[in-house]
Structure formats: structure tokens, C-alpha cells
């Protein structure tokens, strides 16, 4: 049973269509990326899933049915608009928000202490939120998101305001949660982070789903007629099947004819006596796919 099942949801604000018949599912034990350029409708989709907004049409099922008050205790959400009670001491603020997630006051205090130590914030626990640095506030928010051990974790822009050390820490944390079988939805436009972490993704542009599936399948399906070659010898001048050869950092990027296959081209290289150090089918980065999809969409309209 999928943790989230979104079917044909639409949402309109005045004349503007924020989400347009979007459908996707998210399974337990996976990191799912919700991608899209700014203003694509990602946050609106998340808010509909969380029942903050009502969809104009379509249905959403979370943890096996519509959102209920009881289910709110089983999900952790880190919104894009970060915020905590600025004038309240950090530990008090965290304990209050943890009790709102169904923890008893005693459990909440104990877990807050544990998490503060883990996130290296324990020494700052008596400070007001507004006295903390941005990175510390971000970590405090992550504590609020994870403290009640939620089954479903939804994080909007998880790495904003984090330095490389803390970014790595959050990545490890998300992987750890995935290992525990949690379902994680990551909403972002930072493609390289997604490539490292996500199992599957959906790409939304102007409210519509334009790409949806496993990360590797998508990259493979967008891998064009290109191969990366590292050779110990020079490449012959004549290369049947190749349209263009570009030198890149440590080898060559070779664009193949539309009719050529990578396998046939590899055979040609071997037959020509080229000593290969590395031969790989060039997979496009998510950035490239993203730009390609979004601009093609734009051109179509």
C-alpha cells in the first residue's frame, strides 16, 4: 500500500492554476523527490497532501486514507517557510511542538534533550530562537520534524541554510530514516542532492506532472546518443557511427549517429585497436533533464 496516493488533483487560485491534474504515489521505505522550478506548484501540492489546502478536484490518500487528526501525529513536516516561536526559549518551543505531535510532556523533554545533543545544540537550549544562527534554527526545525519518529516525513528544501558539514549530516539522517522503512518526500530544486538521495521522483512544471518514475530509469530514458570514452591511445580520425567528438576533462564525449548503438560503437573502437580505459553511456544529469523538460514544455506552449 503506498504511503501517499495522489490522484488527479487540481487547485486554482483565482485565474491562476497552481496544480493541474497531478497524480503520483509514494511508497514506504523510499526517498521520493518532488521537483520543479520556482512557482511550479510543488508547495501547493504538498499543502494539499497535508490538508492545509483543499483540492478543487481529485483525491489524496495519506497513510491509507484521507488525512485525519490522528494521522497528523504520524507525519513530520518541514515547511519551506521555516519558522519557530522567535521569543521563546528553544527547548520550551521544541517541547511544546513535540507535545502537539502526541508525545507526553516527559517523553517530549527527554527526546528534545537527546536530539539537541545529537544536533550539537544542547549548550544553546536556553537561548531564544531569535538568538540562534540560521543554521542552528534550521537544525532546531529538523528536530521538530523528526522528534516524534514519524512514518511519513515531508521536507521542503531540506538543505537550505546548511553548511557542507550539516548538509552531510542531514543526508545521513535521511538515509538512516529510509533504512528504518520511513517514507520521505523531499521537495527541492537542488538536483544534485536529489541524484544522491532519491529513489524516485516526480517533476512538476506549471502545475502539471511532466516526468515521473525511478531516478535511474528516467536518466536512462534521457540518455541520448552520447558515450564517454577514456582511451590509453589516440582515437582514430575516422570513427564510423560518430557524428562529433569533443574532448572533455580526461577523455572524450562522443555524439553518435541516430542509427548507431553504443554496443556497435564499442565494437568499432575495439576493432580499430583503441585501448580503452573506460567506456560508458553518458547519462544526463538531472539538471540537464530538468532544463530540457522545462524548456521543451515552455516551447510547446
Amino acid at each position: 500500500m503506498p504511503t501517499i496516493e495522489v490522484k488527479q488533483i487540481s487547485k486554482r487560485f483565482g485565474q491562476q492554476i497552481a496544480v493541474d491534474h497531478a497524480s503520483f504515489t509514494v511508497d514506504p521505505g523510499e526517498i521520493f523527490a518532488l521537483l520543479g522550478p520556482n512557482g511550479a506548484g510543488k508547495t501547493t501540492a504538498i499543502r494539499i497532501i497535508l490538508d492545509i489546502f483543499k483540492a478543487d478536484s481529485g483525491t489524496v490518500s495519506v497513510l491509507g486514507g484521507p488525512m485525519t487528526e490522528e494521522k497528523k501525529n504520524r507525519l513530520g513536516y518541514l515547511p519551506e517557510e521555516r519558522g519557530l516561536y522567535q521569543d521563546v526559549q528553544m527547548d520550551r518551543s521544541l517541547v511544546y511542538l513535540a507535545t502537539l505531535k502526541g508525545l507526553s510532556a516527559a517523553d517530549a523533554s527527554r527526546k528534545v534533550d537527546e536530539m539537541l545533543k545529537r544536533f550539537e545544540l544542547y549548550d544553546h537550549r536556553k537561548k531564544k530562537i531569535k538568538e540562534l544562527s540560521k543554521g542552528m534554527q534550521q537544525k532546531a526545525q529538523l528536530i521538530v520534524t523528526l522528534i516524534h519518529d514519524p512514518e511519513l516525513i515531508i521536507i521542503d528544501e531540506p538543505f537550505s541554510a546548511l553548511d557542507p558539514v550539516n548538509t552531510q549530516m542531514v543526508k545521513d539522517l535521511l538515509r538512516e530514516e529510509r533504512e528504518k522503512g520511513k517514507c520521505i518526500v523531499m521537495c527541492t530544486h537542488q538536483m544534485h542532492q536529489v541524484e544522491e538521495l532519491a529513489d524516485r521522483l516526480v517533476l512538476i512544471n506549471e502545475g502539471k506532472v511532466v516526468l515521473y518514475g525511478g531516478l535511474q530509469e528516467i536518466r536512462r530514458s534521457y540518455s541520448g546518443q552520447e558515450v564517454h570514452v577514456h582511451a590509453l591511445t589516440d582515437l582514430p580520425v575516422e570513427l564510423p557511427g560518430a557524428v562529433r567528438v569533443e574532448k572533455d576533462n580526461s577523455g572524450y564525449r562522443i555524439h553518435l549517429e541516430p542509427s548507431a548503438t553504443p554496443q556497435a560503437f564499442l565494437q568499432t573502437l575495439v576493432e580499430r585497436g583503441v585501448q580503452l580505459d573506460k567506456f560508458e553511456i553518458a547519462m544526463p544529469t538531472l539538471d540537464e533533464i530538468f532544463i530540457q523538460v522545462v524548456t521543451t514544455e515552455g516551447n510547446l506552449q
Binding site: 515547511p79 519558522g83 511542538l97
Partner: protein, 400 residues
């Protein structure tokens, strides 16, 4: 329901445990006590304890009765010292032994002429005490009841046409108390409303709305916030009322009792009936403002729009007291923002037709429901609009 209590507790304690709240709550009774104390002090300091001299050539004060039979004021009756001639009294005045001296001429009984010699005005009450002394001694041959009656004058009581309520100069406390309680009540409404306004805007300013909304339902959140912040106002009101009761008991010991229990009772009943819907109405209006405004300062400024009509009846309080059945008073008791202050006062001092009380309370309850409806709508529509104001048109038409 459990989360409602969590929100309630959080909202209540975060205000009540602050130094600002404790200071605010203590400052009002403190300043009231201080100003009363200063007033008393100035009276006491203004009282000259030295005696006042009298030279009586008329014989009215031969074998005088010095003290009146009844003296219930806080200041002691002036001491009088009798002299036989002006030389002695002038010497006493020069030595500052007396405040001054009166001379009653032989023809005093026919002319009423009395001369006063003093270097400065006599202390508080001395002239009145001299007049009382003269009256007592002029009437000393009359029976004590007659003398008492002539000294105190008539005790006028104003009765309302149809029932037992009455106002007399004796139960002046009965007129003042409804007004003071009304003011305290309205101040408490405004304070809680202000806290609530801040509590709602703060969620928006701190951008905690989404976290809170994915933890607790809007109904429980708003109920917790409204009741929590109203309780802050009620705590304040309760402490002030306790201080007022202590103060009243203190003054009641100084001043003889007032016979206005009946009036106070009907006043308190109507106050309680107007109290709840008015509290909810103002709280909801403030919450609505909080949800529509973009920041606390802006919301605070607009909230004056509600505070002004609530206080307005005070500007016309004399007219309302003198003509409790005038069109103005009736209008004020029907309009939901002015009725909390007007209706209880009218009920206390006159006979208000039942239909007016019923209609006024019905309008107030309807206004409270309307305000809550608008507030929850504004809340859903406006909460996630950071830095963007919700317009009245959107509020009445839009959906979230």
C-alpha cells in the same frame, strides 16, 4: 481535545509568566492605591491640628456643647478654645498657638455677623466645624432627634417607577460601582483581545502556521488560542476585582453602609449575560484582524477601530445616567460594540423593558457568532499569506 488544552496552556502561561504581565497586573491597583493614599495624605497634611479661638460677646456659646453627637468622617472635629478678650487671643495667634479666632458680636443673634482674624486660611474643615458648633449650640435646647434632623437635612431617595430599585446620595457607591466594573471589564476585553491579536499575528510573523496546522486542527488551535488569551484577561480582571473588593471593604469601614444590594445584583446578572458574548465577539474580531493583517503593529493600529466604540458610552455616561431611557441610551444598548458598557448600567439605574434586554443580548450573541465565523474564515484564507493582506472582499467570497 487534548491538543486544545496544550494550546490553551501554552498561550496562557507564555503571557502570565512574563515580567511584563505581572508588572502590568500589579501596577493598576498599585497606582489606584497610591493616588487614593496621596489624596488622603494631602487632606491629612492640610488639616491644622491647632485649635481655633472664639470670643463670644453674644452669649450663644455660654456653657457650650462642643462636639457633635455624630462624627463619622476621617478627619477629627476641630478643637475650639474660648477667650474673653481680643488681647489674649491675638497673643495666642501671634505665638502660633491657634489657627485664628472668631468674634461673635453681641448682636449676633439678630445680624448673624461673625468676624474672623487669622494670618492664613484656616485648615481643612475648620470653618465648617465652626458653623456646626454654632448650629449645635443654637439648637441645644431642642430634643436630640430634632437637633439631629436639622443638622443632617433631608435624605432624598430616588425610586424607579415600577420596582424596588432606588438611588440615594447614600448609595453613591451603587452608581460608581457599575461604571468602574464596566470600565474594568472593557479594559480586560481589550487586553485579552490584544493578546489574542498578537498570538495570531505571531504565528504568521514567526511562520509557524504550517507546522502547527499539520499538528492540530484549526478548530482546536483557535479555541485554545481564544480561551487561553481570554483567560489571561480574566486573570487580570479577577485580580483587579479582588483588589477592588479589598479596597471597597476598606472604604466601607470609613463610610457607613450603602443600601444598593438589589441594584448591584441585577447589574451583575446583566453584566454576566453581556460579558461572555461580548468577550467572544471582541476576541474573534481581534483574531480576524490578526489573520488578515501582515504584522502585529499594523493589526494593533486597526484594533483601535473596535476599542473606540466599546469605550464610547463612557463619553456620554452623564447623559445615560440622567436619561437612561433616551434614544441614545437605547441605541447604545442595542449596538453590539457599545452594549456591554451601556446595558448593565441602564439596568442598574432604571427599568429597562424586557424586549430591549432580550433584543440587545440576542444581537450581541448573533454578533459574537458572526465574528467567530468571520475569524475562522479569515484564519483559513489569510494565514498562509506572508506579507500579503487579505481584503474584505476576499474574506466574504473566497475559499481556501
Amino acid at each position: 481535545m487534548k491538543k486544545f488544552w496544550l494550546v490553551f496552556k501554552h498561550e496562557y502561561l507564555r503571557h502570565v509568566l512574563t515580567k511584563r504581565f505581572i508588572f502590568g497586573i500589579l501596577s493598576v491597583p498599585f497606582f489606584v492605591a497610591l493616588s487614593i493614599g496621596l489624596g488622603l495624605l494631602s487632606v491629612i497634611l492640610g488639616t491644622d491640628k491647632r485649635p481655633v479661638g472664639i470670643i463670644d460677646h453674644s452669649g450663644v456659646l455660654a456653657a457650650p456643647v462642643i462636639y457633635p453627637e455624630k462624627n463619622d468622617g476621617p478627619i477629627p472635629f476641630t478643637t475650639f478654645l474660648f477667650f474673653t478678650d481680643a488681647k489674649q487671643s491675638q497673643a495666642a495667634l501671634d505665638n502660633r498657638e491657634i489657627q485664628g479666632y472668631y468674634v461673635l458680636e453681641p448682636d449676633y443673634l439678630t445680624t448673624g455677623k461673625v468676624a474672623l482674624t487669622a494670618t492664613e486660611p484656616l485648615g481643612t474643615g475648620a470653618e465648617g466645624d465652626f458653623a456646626t458648633l454654632l448650629r449645635i449650640n443654637l439648637l441645644k435646647t431642642q430634643p436630640i432627634e430634632l437637633r439631629q434632623r436639622m443638622l443632617e437635612g433631608p435624605d432624598v431617595t430616588i425610586h424607579s417607577v415600577s420596582d424596588s430599585r432606588s438611588v440615594s446620595p447614600d448609595n453613591i457607591l451603587g452608581i460608581i460601582m457599575p461604571i468602574v466594573a464596566g470600565i474594568l471589564f472593557v479594559v480586560a476585553i481589550n487586553i485579552s483581545g490584544g493578546y489574542l491579536l498578537q498570538a495570531v499575528v505571531e504565528e504568521k510573523e514567526n511562520r509557524t502556521m504550517e507546522i502547527v496546522l499539520t499538528s492540530v486542527s484549526t478548530d482546536q488551535l483557535m479555541a485554545g488560542k481564544i480561551i487561553g488569551n481570554l483567560s489571561v484577561g480574566l486573570t487580570q480582571l479577577a485580580i483587579w476585582l479582588i483588589a477592588a473588593v479589598i479596597g471597597t471593604i476598606f472604604f466601607a469601614n470609613l463610610q457607613s453602609d450603602t443600601g444598593s444590594v438589589e441594584m448591584i445584583r441585577s447589574y451583575l446578572l446583566i453584566l454576566a449575560l453581556t460579558f461572555l458574548p461580548a468577550f467572544v465577539m471582541v476576541a474573534a474580531l481581534m483574531a480576524m484582524l490578526g489573520a488578515t493583517a501582515t504584522e502585529a503593529r499594523e493589526a494593533q493600529q486597526i484594533s483601535g477601530l473596535f476599542s473606540i466604540p466599546i469605550f464610547m458610552p463612557l463619553w456620554f455616561i452623564t447623559t445615560i445616567l440622567e436619561h437612561p431611557d433616551s434614544a441614545l441610551a437605547v441605541g447604545f444598548s442595542l449596538f453590539p460594540l457599545t452594549s456591554p458598557l451601556t446595558l448593565p448600567v441602564r439596568v442598574a439605574i432604571s427599568t429597562v423593558p424586557a424586549w430591549q434586554i432580550g433584543l440587545s443580548l440576542a444581537i450581541l450573541v448573533a454578533a459574537a457568532f458572526g465574528a467567530v465565523w468571520l475569524a475562522s474564515r479569515a484564519f483559513r484564507l489569510g494565514m498562509l499569506r506572508y506579507g500579503k493582506r487579505l481584503t474584505l472582499r476576499e474574506l466574504l467570497r473566497g475559499t481556501a
